[in-house]
Symmetry: C2
Subunit: 195 residues, 2 copies
Amino acid sequence: MTGKGTDGTGRHGRPLRADARRNEDRLLSAAAEAFAREGTGASVKDIARAAGVGVGTLYRRFPSKELLIEATYRHEVQVLCAAAPELTASLPPAQALRAWMERFIEFMAAKHGMADVLRVVLTDEGERLTTRAHLTEAVRHLLAAGASQNVTRSQVEAQDVLMALGGISVMADTERQPGLVPALIDLLLHGILTC
Amino acid sequence: MTGKGTDGTGRHGRPLRADARRNEDRLLSAAAEAFAREGTGASVKDIARAAGVGVGTLYRRFPSKELLIEATYRHEVQVLCAAAPELTASLPPAQALRAWMERFIEFMAAKHGMADVLRVVLTDEGERLTTRAHLTEAVRHLLAAGASQNVTRSQVEAQDVLMALGGISVMADTERQPGLVPALIDLLLHGILTC
DNA sequence: AGATTAAGCGGAACCGGTTCCGGTTGCAAG
DNA sequence: CTTGCAACCGGAACCGGTTCCGCTTAATCT
């Protein structure tokens, strides 16, 4: 994230011009609708047209389709992250971990082709709090709860777990075999837990 | 795999016409060179031109870029698979497993963008022995060696391990963090081994 | 050799993502 | 209110993958 997106500021933190902000709103709702209806396969040109702007405008605000997707789903990701503390509060660490991992995968799989999101959601080197940082934080929270009761190996890094989950999402999306996801989550969980 | 590729037979097992076979050869060597030089990002049109044929010809023989990539690397994958028995013969099961997984990832990462291969290499429902079947077999071999000495959990399926490796490849390719791969291999290995 | 025809061929056309750029306009300074 | 200009706008153009289709030709039959 480089200071662009839904925060109403431009490239240098300067407030957006009124028309620009209006277009951003239109684009986001057109995108939300299109992605909900057709999945992330929806074409950017169609989204731009539905929003009543040209593709150029869309691309200035969201420099790639993936970033548009991320912006569209950012809120849902925040909700996902917020669930981590709640789960650790109400379940034993191992179960909380599993439950959250399932939600993560489920979210990623929700709309077909969601794997695109992942590349953006997990990839980023911006300065401010990013979506990715939130996710890492959520995992760190879950792992910490486990470590404090010695049920998770303390060498396991939150970031690596996140990446592993990302990998599972991609494969689940690519392949279509039923039962793959639970099997891979099991494998990952076994790798995290103390024996 | 549906009976197309480098076996010199057409869609119905009928032998290829002479010109077709010649073009297939040209395409494969042009592809090999292009992929080696530019990675799998090399454009199909360029490859067709280098081979002196039209894109249509390329597409009849290799119905998608991914299939062309797979055909180009099929031999290397076979070599990789062949290494599995050798490793189990010369190393303790856990080490053999780790060594092979490292080779797998290394191979996938060798040429940038190799993640494309994966989708084809790992996805397939053909009737005959496929590349994917070979890979699964290699993993099964490694797991069997481990199971016989009780160092690997017997519930772990070869296919799931292969998928997990696929996921790691994708993430390693997407992300660029050093140390990610070893960390993920560790995690996976811990998930496979008995404690 | 000549006819027949399925297989093969090339490349124009299409589609989706992305870039580029000449024209437009919100906004603030004068 | 006018003016200057940075920010913004739209869409044509480009690029890569894939499809389509009319023409060509290797292989086979007579």
